[in-house]
């Protein structure tokens, strides 16, 4: 393993952690208008992610920051190529974040309705577009030697891109529904349970379609054929998905959520391992592709940053896991009475 390879997988890992943490927030935000029948339901849903969403979103900032630090050329070309999609994601995330805060401050039903809408939009748009963006990266982006993008936002909305968007959306929806089964009780919990079970079926279909479509739209399987051990990744994804369903049936909700998290990690790494060493492949000419080797920072920066993340990421994980344990109990109506609740 050389430095660039380590960083390539760290890059994938940070995105995967973002997807399993903020993924359930985005899922709950999208399910929100459908599962939240009353204002109490809605408040319970928001408060189920209330203490955690902000820390979760920092994984996005870190994934972005690490792309900038370790692969500046990728950061530059990726974000300017995906300009419109990324800006839409950012605007949506801004709306979602302030909506939780704003909604809780005034009790007027009309006021709350406005922020209910923005919570949905602010969660649905990123959940879909992250998938669209990554699927497009898997199949290659039309940019030239100078890093100039030849396309529009609609170029990204091709069949494979949309399938990727759908897959991510379903992954996050199931992940969110499972989180609700952990933190809610009564009718809301039952609805979340049923929703997770139905979503699972759609997810299975989408995952199989995506794995098959990747054969035709991408070169991801080249690495798999060269290193057959890698097939363990998609196998893990499918097994974890199966385990999610069984654990849900046994009402082992926390375990089901963890299995769903493993599914997301395995799906992310299915793509990441297939991409290597490409980080941002060009569909115009493979020679223009940005790889872990031609787009990385200097060895000094890579080493310093490796020391930084080796110290701080484990520390972050320790206090985040502590926070998750602290807030994995049921959100009750009594909790909503506290003045701090959303």
């Amino acid at each position: 393993m050389d430095l660039q390879m380590i960083w390539f997988f760290l890059w994938g890992l940070l995105w995967a952690i973002f997807f399993i943490t903020d993924g359930f927030d985005l899922g709950i935000g999208t399910l929100y208008p459908f599962l939240g029948k009353t204002d109490t339901d809605k408040r319970i849903m928001i408060n189920s992610l209330g203490p955690l969403w902000d820390g979760n979103e920092v994984w996005l900032i870190t994934a972005g920051g690490v792309t900038f630090a370790a692969f500046p050329a990728v950061y530059a070309v990726m974000f300017s190529s995906l300009y419109s999609a990324l800006m839409l994601i950012l605007f949506a995330l801004i709306l979602r974040g302030v909506s939780f805060e704003f909604r809780s401050k005034i009790g007027n039903p009309g006021w709350r309705k406005v922020w209910d809408t923005t919570i949905f939009i602010g969660s649905f748009v990123p959940a879909l577009l992250f998938g669209v963006a990554f699927a497009n990266i898997f199949q290659g982006i039309p940019f030239d030697r100078q890093g100039v993008y030849h396309g529009t936002l609609f170029t990204l909305l091709n069949p494979y891109g949309l399938l990727g968007g759908l897959l991510f959306l379903l992954l996050f929806l199931q992940h969110g529904a499972l989180w609700l089964t952990i933190r809610t009780e009564g009718a809301l919990q039952e609805r979340a349970h049923k929703t997770a079970a139905v979503l699972w079926l759609f997810l299975l279909v989408a995952a199989v379609l995506f794995l098959a479509a990747s054969k035709y739209y991408t070169k991801l399987y080249d690495n798999y054929l060269a290193h057959p051990l890698l097939f363990l990744l998609p196998v893990t994804a499918v097994l974890a998905l199966a385990a999610t369903r069984l654990l849900l049936k046994k009402k082992s909700y926390m375990k089901a959520w963890l299995a769903s998290a493993l599914t997301i990690v395995a799906c992310t790494f299915f793509g990441v391992a297939g991409l290597f060493p490409n980080l941002f492949p060009s569909s115009l000419n493979p020679e223009y592709s940005l790889t872990a080797y031609n787009a990385s920072s200097s060895p000094m920066t890579l080493k310093i940053m490796l020391v930084v993340v080796s110290i701080f990421i484990p520390i972050v994980l320790i206090y985040q896991i502590w926070a998750y344990k602290l807030f994995s109990d049921k959100v009750t109506e009594e909790d909503l009475a506290y003045e701090e609740a959303y």
Binding site: M78, L90, T301, V316, Y338
Partner: protein
């Protein structure tokens, strides 16, 4: 459509909006931590109410600061991709360190603080607030080291067609960045002090919960007195260092055109950038600029005309921003001293209380002018002396940037209106409970 100008406007709008909310969180976090510590030590209900009242103000600001901060990081990639590719080796690592070392801690623990009142012991809960305050200021440190590098790049070599890191310690101990850091954090504490004192003064004028707001006022005052004096002294050191490292910015700050000894400061002037002179100069004090720049009334100060036109920043904006910032800073010192003298007779000093209420917007203006001075005064460079702003922009088209710029203005306009309305409403309503 000019992509460079549009991208600059977009970045300026996003930064200045972000900076309406962040400074208050830096100072207020520490004040709330102090209040909560007083509660833990004394067990007096009033300090708990103070922690919750000012804490809520902190939270609304924090939410707006967080969501608007993300776009700043990503804009380097979306709109300034040539810059990102050229200096990412250094600049990118600083942003990544900020996220892993500081921002994670702040965001995660703040969630624990908000929802953890019943789950944690009082001591642990107060400790969490201290860590939140520490992490917020640690974030500022890394961000300003990054900005300090753009102002005065150190510790790099040009290799492989880009700026590569050569000496990490030099980047971290960059004197420019450290002076800028103290200046910014000091200013954030001044702003926080004015907000706490101003809101308290509003209620004291109405004789509303006088005990609660007198105590709050005094906590704000303690921070305010120290911070204003600190920034005044530190600002002087910063000025000397700017003279040394960014002589063109200094000349533009003072609309100083000809190289002279005993260079004057003009209280007011209207620069004529075409002809390289001032149209109007009012209240010139000879030798003062030489003294500020070199601590020597006789020192020679280079004028703008000794630099090629294409290396000069927009003089009028730089000049006015500096005037406004320093003028307001002087007022802050004076009113803090007056407030300190009257601290035990607040209720008998309605004129002071009124002045404090009306002063709330002033540190906001001063702190924004400070950023305008730092950033506009650095033009035409994005990295001083190393890379021009016009070479830094992404290969994207004007209409794309115009669309998002309009999007930013609409979205941020909405957030700003709602955010300030909620802040206003919370501030005017006052604390819950029966405490006097």
């Amino acid at each position: 459509m000019d992509v460079v100008l549009l991208s600059r406007l977009q970045f300026a709008a996003a930064t200045m909006f972000h900076f309406l909310f962040v400074p208050l969180t830096l100072g207020l976090a520490v004040m709330v931590a102090v209040m909560e510590t007083k509660y833990v030590r004394s067990n007096e209900e009033i300090y708990l109410r103070m922690t919750k009242f000012w804490g809520k103000l902190f939270l609304i600001n924090f939410a707006l600061g967080v969501v608007t901060g993300i776009t700043l990081e990503f804009q380097f990639g979306t709109n300034w991709s040539r810059y990102s590719a050229y200096v990412g080796d250094i600049f990118g690592s600083l942003l990544a360190i900020e996220a892993t070392m500081a921002f994670f801690l702040e965001s995660t623990l703040l969630g624990v603080w908000i929802f953890g009142w019943k789950k944690l012991s009082k001591k642990v809960h107060a400790t969490i607030m201290w860590l939140v305050a520490l992490a917020g200021n640690l974030s500022a440190l890394w961000i300003i080291i990054a900005n300090g590098w753009m102002q005065h790049p150190v510790g790099y070599t040009i290799r492989n067609g880009r700026a590569e890191l050569d000496d990490f310690m030099a980047v971290v101990t960059n004197k420019f960045a450290i002076l800028q850091l103290f200046h910014t954090i000091g200013a954030a504490f001044i702003l926080s002090a004015f907000v706490v004192m101003g809101i308290s003064a509003y209620h004291l004028l109405k004789k509303n919960r006088t005990d609660f707001f007198t105590r709050s006022f005094r906590i704000g005052l303690a921070f305010g007195v120290v911070a204003t004096l600190f920034v005044a002294i530190e600002g002087d050191m910063h000025g000397v260092h700017v003279t040394e490292t960014q002589p063109i910015k200094l000349a533009a700050m003072e609309a100083h055109w000809e190289t002279t000894r005993q260079a004057p400061i003009h209280l007011f002037a209207i620069p004529d950038e075409q002809n390289g002179k001032n149209k109007v100069e009012i209240g010139s004090i000879p030798g003062l600029l030489s003294f500020l720049g070199y601590h020597d009334f006789n020192a020679e100060v280079r004028g703008l005309n000794s630099f090629p036109k294409e290396q000069r920043p927009p003089v009028l904006i730089t000049f006015l921003a500096f005037r406004g910032m320093v003028g307001l800073g002087t007022y802050f010192v004076l009113i803090m001293i007056i407030a300190w003298i009257r601290r035990n007779r607040l209720l008998e000093s309605p004129w002071l209380l009124k002045a404090m209420v009306f002063s709330i917007p002033l540190p906001y203006i001063a702190i924004e002018l400070g950023w305008v001075l730092a950033e506009v005064g650095r033009q035409p460079w994005i990295v001083y002396g190393l890379m021009r702003t016009s070479d830094a922009v992404s290969p994207i088209v004007g209409p794309q940037v115009l669309t998002t710029l309009i999007g930013f203005i609409l979205l941020y306009g909405l957030l700003g209106a709602v955010g300030f309305y909620l802040i206003y409403q919370h501030a005017v309503k006052g604390p819950k409970g029966e405490v006097n």
